[in-house]
């Protein structure tokens, strides 16, 4: 096992310790970023450490004060962590509004977690015209001021360029990693793959990219590996851990992903011209096949079909988080397209707080018996 890979996996498994370490080593204050997309480059350029806030394993007791039970488990977990003080080391959280639940959490937060400041950040949904592009530039400016007031440092043109370049590098290396993971599915099994990518949410991106570069180098020098089943996984995120264990146990590798927490963060290129903010805005305007952005003539189905063909995958695994409305609306549409293309689908309903894996185990095992 590659030592630096081991290190990344460990960091990916231990958010709190990794964040505290990164804060100490970099001397930066940390700002939490809610799903799905947040302009981290701006946070970084302001001298702050962006960290991911994507829920986690916890009993839900306090969050019930604000959220009914038929609510996305990730948001309930975020609320719970906030209320019990886990996020106290953050100087602020950036909360978005990609769905009604996120928006409700945003406005409840000051009441529920008064000691952690909220900075809202909402991208435009109607990305077709000029008005959205101009609006995005304006909200970047506003966001920059907010971040500057938290760090007490100015976002100079130089710092912004540096941050942008760093994040471009991170994207390129992460994409390279997923490609290498597909050809080395034993070393980079589903679990290792997830945690190695997840580590980027808790580390200083600078350190992370250095380490990922080492991992990629090591993988390139290794011979290709084979595993019995190859799947494309789609959805929000590939958690909890027990769920990943089942894939490893059944010899199924993730040969490509369409996950909000993983490839969707780094697969869209930006345009070559313009200022840094313009380039960042173009990336958002150009995002396609994404659950969380309005798109005329939804292309997610076609995109998944292409991914399956390119990666010679056996099937698509749908990781559907219960109560995720946007995902639940997309599913019937791409399901029809995948079925018409003759691609097998394994549909799994997940919650982040799931304890018993038995039901999932049966479904996954049956699926391999079918394939």
């Amino acid at each position: 096992m590659i030592a630096v890979l081991d290190e990344l996996v460990k960091k990916g498994k231990n958010p709190k310790a990794t964040v505290l370490e990164a804060m100490k080593d970099s001397g930066r204050k940390a700002v939490g970023c809610f799903p799905i997309y947040v302009p981290e480059e701006i946070i970084y350029a302001a001298g702050l450490l962006p960290v991911g806030v994507w829920g986690g394993k916890t009993d839900i007791k306090l969050a019930d004060k604000y959220l009914q039970s038929f609510c996305c488990s990730i948001m309930r977990a975020n609320m719970e962590f906030g209320m019990k003080g886990t996020y106290d080391m953050l100087s602020a959280v950036v909360i978005t509004a990609y769905c009604d639940t996120l928006r409700a959490v945003m406005v409840n937060w000051p009441y529920a977690v008064p000691n952690v400041k909220v900075v809202p950040f909402v991208y435009p949904q109607n990305r077709q015209g000029d008005s959205a592009f101009r609006y995005t530039l304006e909200i970047f400016d506003k966001f920059q001021s907010e971040m500057e007031s938290i760090s007490g440092k100015k976002v100079t043109a130089e710092r912004l360029e540096e941050a942008f370049d760093l994040y471009e590098q991170w994207r390129a290396l992460s994409q390279e990693f997923t490609t290498l993971a597909a050809t080395h599915p034993v070393t980079i099994n589903a679990k290792v793959r997830h945690y190695a990518l997840r580590a980027s949410y808790y580390m200083d991106k600078k350190t992370y990219t250095e380490k990922l570069m080492e991992v990629n180098q090591a993988l390139k020098s290794m011979p290709d590996e084979q595993v019995k089943f190859k799947v494309v996984v789609t959805g929000l995120l590939a958690e909890p851990e027990g769920f990943l264990d089942l894939f490893v146990a059944n010899n199924i590798s993730f040969v490509a992903d369409d996950l909000a927490q993983e490839s969707r963060q780094f697969r869209t290129p930006t345009r070559p011209e313009g200022t840094v903010y313009e380039k960042m805005a173009w990336r958002i305007m150009d995002l396609r096949g994404d659950t969380f952005f309005y798109e005329e003539n939804k292309s997610r189905g076609r995109m998944l079909i292409d991914m399956v063909k390119e990666s010679s995958a056996d099937a698509v695994v749908v990781c559907l988080y219960k109560f995720c409305d946007p995902e639940e609306f997309d599913y019937p549409v791409y399901k029809k397209e995948l079925e018409a293309a003759g691609i097998p689908i394994l549909y799994l309903e997940i919650e982040q707080q799931m304890d018993s894996m038995e039901q999932l185990r049966t479904r996954i095992q049956t699926f391999t018996e079918i394939l």
Binding site: Q68, A104, M106, Y111, V122, A132, Y135, F329
Partner: protein
């Protein structure tokens, strides 16, 4: 001498005409648009599109107890039962295209304004794909301030202008800015009458039985920009004024004993039974957040003002703002208690209710109860639970009266 219809009767007549007109328009080759309930209908009316509103249609299907067949179809298509039942019903209707309750023709254009919720974007996106027709989206981002920012106003205004260009392409004719001004004028006047009418319910006793407000929601959605809509709400206002003059309360056969605020959409399949439980106990619903949702007021001809109005619903603003709004309603309408419908379909509203209920109690001393239900899915409601909760509220309100807290 033709009989003068009451506004209630006129309402039903207008609704029937509304559905018929849409069918006629389709047959005559006039474009039909499906739009969300608080879409800037002014631009569509000005362009001469026939507009139908899927939410209204789904509510009608729910009220006439025809929802189950559509919910079943949606489930077999792969939609989760956790998704909004309006969406499930409408997406299934898009395939089945017939209901005994009412029918709307296949659309030529899909129009979504995300100001009511973000789920509409996903729902309408699917409709546009299913019907393979163009979609206009007016996105109204939300935040945590009381008033929306200037950059948001610019973005919404920009989208309105872009939408007009899109409409010109679809309709194959130029946008009539004079008609637009006319529609704006009517819309503002209708919204004003709506607000004035619902304001009259402040009077103690209220001249209207509260669920009437739900009945008048259909026309405020569909007829805001139309002259007959303006006249309807003016008439309703005058009727209510008259009732106040004559000292008439909500019911001729019962006294208004308690006044409540109802938070959320009604349970359309159980409108009658939920209403009966309230009336039986002399409880009258006098207000909700809906009157202000359609009080979209701006200066005629002012596109910025229109953008601001459509982008400034409660949903786009801070929780503080929402709390203050509800407390003000509780105070102005002399409310004794609040009923929160924990509507399985409406996460956007539901996930703010707990804190709002707490603040209402804290700041204004108003007790509240919650009950589980759904706007149109009949399987998510239990009359036994509802009755128990209402009774509990009754006991709290009665005890407050005794204590002299009211």
């Amino acid at each position: 001498m033709t009989k003068i219809l009451s506004s209630k009767q006129r309402l039903n007549q207008l609704l029937a005409e509304h559905y018929q007109e849409a069918q006629d328009a389709k047959e005559a080759g006039r474009p039909v648009a499906w739009a969300t309930s608080i879409f800037p209908q002014e631009i569509l009316e000005a362009m001469g599109f026939a507009i139908v509103y899927p939410e209204n249609h789904a509510a009608a299907i729910g009220a006439r107890k025809d929802a189950p067949q559509f919910l079943k179809k949606a489930e077999s298509d792969g939609y989760s039962i956790d998704n909004c039942s309006y969406a499930r019903i409408n997406l299934a209707y898009a395939e089945l295209l017939h209901s005994d309750a009412a029918n709307i023709p296949v659309p030529d254009l899909i129009c979504c304004c995300s100001n009511i919720c973000l789920t509409t974007i996903k729902w309408y996106e699917n409709l546009a794909k299913h019907f393979n027709c163009p979609m206009i989206i007016i996105d109204t981002p939300s935040g945590m301030t009381d008033d929306i920012s200037e950059e948001r106003v610019r973005y919404i205004r920009g989208q309105l202008e872009e939408a007009i260009v899109q409409l010109e392409e679809i309709a194959g004719k130029k946008f009539d800015y004079d008609k637009f001004k006319d529609v704006m004028r009517i819309s503002n006047e209708t919204a004003t009458w709506w607000l004035k009418a619902t304001d009259l319910l402040k009077h103690k006793p209220s001249p209207a039985m509260g669920f009437d407000m739900f009945n008048y929601m259909a026309p405020i959605v569909c007829f805001r920009g139309i002259e007959s809509g303006r006249l309807l709400f003016k008439q309703w206002y005058e009727e209510l004024e008259k009732r106040i003059e004559n000292g008439q309360g909500p019911w001729d056969d019962k006294e208004e004993k308690f006044r409540v605020l109802w938070d959320g959409i009604p349970c359309w399949p159980y409108l009658s039974s939920t209403y009966k439980v309230l009336k039986k106990n002399g409880i009258n619903m006098v207000t909700s957040t809906y009157p202000e949702s359609w009080s979209l007021l701006y200066d005629v001809g002012d596109l910025d003002g229109m953008a601001r109005a459509y982008g400034s619903l409660l949903v786009q603003r801070s929780m503080d703002h929402g709390v203050r709004r509800l407390c003000r309603l509780a105070s102005e309408f002399n409310v004794d208690g609040a009923i929160f419908h924990s509507n399985r379909s409406c996460k956007g509203m539901d996930f703010k209710q707990f804190e709002i209920a707490r603040q209402l109690k804290l700041q204004y001393g108003v007790p509240s109860v919650f009950f589980d239900g759904d706007q149109t899915d009949p399987s998510a409601f239990s009359i036994a639970q509802y009755e128990t909760r209402v009774q509990a509220l009754l006991e709290m309100m009665a005890s407050n009266v005794e204590k002299g807290d009211r």
